[in-house]
Point group: C2
Chain length 199, copies 2
C-alpha cells in the first residue's frame, strides 16, 4: 500500500487531499512540526477520513513513498533543511506550493531565483528523491511524472495532465495564482482550470 505524507496537511488544501487520498485507498500521514496541535486540528474532520494519521514531519517523511508539500513558500527552506536526511531513497516529492503573497490585499507572485518554487524545492532535495508537482504534472524524471500521473488519477474529478519538464513549473504556479485571483474577484472558493481540447 502506497504511503503518502502530507506536510501542511492541516490547511485547507492538505485536508482535502488527505481525505481524498485515504478514500482512494492510500495510507495517509499528516506531518506537522507540532503533532499535538495537528491532532487537534484533524479531530474536526477525522470522522470523514478515520484512517488518517498524524506524525512529526521527520517521522512522516521517513516512512513515505510520496511526500506532498502543501506548506507556505516561506516555510519551505527551514523545513527541507530539517527533513533532507529523512527522505526515503527513490521516494517521490510532489510540490504543491504556489509562491504568492497577499501583501496589502493584492496577490503577487514571489520572484524565485531558481525560476519557480518547484525548482527552488528541487535544489534543496537529496538527488535520490524525485520531484513532481500538482494536477498539472511536470518534472525532469519520466518515472516521477508517470507516478504522479497515476496518483492524480486516483483522485475523483481530477485528470492528470503531463506538461513535461520541471521548467514548466513556473507556468503552473502562475495558473494557480490566476485561480486565486479569480476566486477573489468572483467571490468563489474553488476556481480551477480544466484543459479543453484534450480527449
Amino acid at each position: 500500500m502506497t504511503s503518502v505524507a502530507i506536510l501542511g496537511g492541516t490547511g485547507q488544501q492538505g485536508r482535502a487531499l488527505a481525505q481524498r487520498l485515504q478514500h482512494a485507498g492510500l495510507r495517509v500521514t499528516i506531518g506537522s512540526r507540532d503533532p499535538g496541535r495537528a491532532r487537534a486540528a484533524v479531530a474536526a474532520w477525522i470522522a470523514l477520513a478515520p484512517a488518517v494519521e498524524v506524525a512529526d514531519n521527520a517521522a512522516a517523511v521517513a516512512q513515505a513513498d510520496v511526500t506532498m508539500l502543501a506548506v507556505p513558500f516561506t516555510f519551505v527552506d527551514p523545513l527541507l533543511e530539517e527533513l533532507r536526511p529523512h527522505f526515503k531513497v527513490g521516494s517521490l516529492v510532489v510540490d504543491l506550493i504556489v509562491p504568492v503573497t497577499f501583501a496589502g490585499g493584492k496577490i503577487a507572485m514571489v520572484e524565485v531565483a531558481e525560476g519557480s518554487a518547484a525548482e527552488h524545492v528541487r535544489a534543496r532535495l537529496p538527488a535520490s528523491v524525485r520531484l513532481d508537482c500538482d494536477e498539472f504534472v511536470c518534472g525532469d524524471s519520466d518515472a516521477a511524472r508517470a507516478e504522479a500521473v497515476a496518483l492524480v488519477a486516483l483522485l475523483p474529478g481530477l485528470r492528470p495532465v503531463d506538461v513535461g519538464a520541471l521548467s514548466r513549473a513556473r507556468s503552473i504556479e502562475h495558473l494557480t495564482a490566476l485561480a486565486i485571483a479569480i476566486n477573489r474577484r468572483y467571490k468563489i472558493h474553488d476556481a480551477r482550470f480544466r484543459v479543453v481540447g484534450l480527449t
Copy 2:
C-alpha cells in the same frame, strides 16, 4: 457598428478571430505591412467571412474602435513605434501576444523587462489608448475591461473571465505557454483552459 482592426490577421489566430468577429456582426479590417500579400492570404478563406477588409496597418488602426495585436512579440516594437500616432483617442487595444520562443524545439517564455508582453505594449501605447488582453481579460482601466468582456462575449464558445489588473498579464501569458506545451505533448491543436467553479 464597432470597427475592429486585427494586426497579424493573416496568421491562424487572427484569421479565426476575423471570421468569428465578422459573424458576430462587427466590422473587421485586417491590418498588414503589405496589404497586397495580405489580400492574397485572405483570399483563401474570404468566402467564409466576405465582409472582412484588408488595409495597411496605419489605415486599419486609424479607423478602429478596437485594435487587436496578434503579431509575434519580436515584431511589436517597430510596429507600435510606427502606429503610435495613428490610434484613435479612447480606442481599445487588445493584446493577444504570448512571448514564447521555440528555440531548439523547446518552448520557453521570453523574459520581458516590464514583467509581461502586455505591460511592454502598454508602455509603448499613447496614454489615450486603453489596453486589454484576451479571453482572460485584464487591464488597469475598468472601462477597458468591461468593453473587452463584452467583445469576448460576442465570440461563440468563449466566456470572458475578468482577472483584474494588468499585472496579471504575465499569468495569462504563462497559461497560453502551457496550452502550447500541452498541444505539442499530446499532439493536439486546440488545448485551451476553461475555468471550472465559476457559475
